[in-house]
């Protein structure tokens, strides 16, 4: 859920953070760092991303005093991380490489014939709910493996949109991508996960 959807919990946490309560910081660090790291990994390598997230938390101690709650706490934190990453990229004159040319994964595109009909249609239906599927430890491990193999750009877009439940506009803003490019990133990433689950269900192998 977006933090804006549970303002009471957020307001109380924000008040505690403003007071400099160490316990509130420990709670917030655990709740928000995964998303902050997903944002940072969109722009930077792993160790630089961790460094930025750590630095951001130190910045938050002073910055939170001016936080007026116009956005949710999560969105605010993610923007701080994104801005810091963009500055870092600017100073190193590096750019994030992205490919938006194709919306279909080659492995999926090859499953259609020349007329645009399925040549190799999906055979199995994923009957189980997401919760039931995730109870399968092997599938969960496989998902981890495939997620870490995704290009950072696709993974961050996917994590912010699916796991951290940001709205499209927020994701575009935080990752600095256009709405149409976000659609491509999300669709490519989902297709890879679809192909992974399909292989897993058909063969039991990751």
């Amino acid at each position: 859920m977006d933090t804006a959807a549970r303002p009471e919990a957020d307001t109380s946490l924000i008040d505690d953070l403003k007071r400099g309560d160490p316990g509130a910081y420990r709670q917030a660090v655990r709740e928000y760092s995964p998303g902050m790291l997903a944002v940072a990994r969109f722009y930077l390598d792993h160790s630089s991303a961790e460094e930025v997230v750590q630095d951001c938390w130190v910045t938050v101690i002073d910055a939170i005093q001016k936080f007026e709650g116009r956005s949710g706490l999560k969105t605010w934190l993610h923007r701080i991380v994104a801005n810091r990453c963009k500055n870092k990229l600017r100073s190193s004159k590096r750019e994030v490489a992205m490919d938006f040319s194709e919306s279909l994964e080659p492995e999926l595109a090859n499953r259609f014939n020349a007329t645009g009909r399925w040549d190799l249609p999906p055979k199995l239906q994923f009957h189980d709910s997401a919760d039931t599927l995730m109870e399968n430890g092997a599938l969960s491990d496989c998902l981890d493996k495939h997620l870490s193999a995704l290009p950072e750009t696709q993974r961050s877009a996917l994590m912010l949109y699916e796991a951290h439940q940001h709205k499209s506009d927020d994701v575009c803003n935080i990752l600095d991508v256009s709405a149409s490019n976000l659609r491509v990133l999300l669709h490519r990433a989902r297709q890879k996960i679809f192909l992974m689950v399909e292989t897993f269900q058909e063969t039991g192998e990751c």
């Binding site: 997401a130 995730m134 669709h187």
Partner: protein
Amino acid sequence: MLMCRDLAEIASDYIDGELNRRQSLTVKMHLMMCKDCRTFIGNLRASSNLLSVHSASRPDEQFLRQIDERVAEALNNRGTKGSEPD
């Protein structure tokens, strides 16, 4: 006419409700006639739901403790500064 490949290209837009009414209707009509695409859309949606319940970028506890330490240090410094006379 919307072919299966065309539908696969815009499947995420359909799932997320990002298509306009006309496009969405075209997809729905195709889905009524095409079992393979119904399976595909259902499976793609299930894949996307999987990610909602699976938070993959879980930082390790050591990293979180490093943040705790830096935050605690910064809070202490602020406390010390605050108690200094003007």
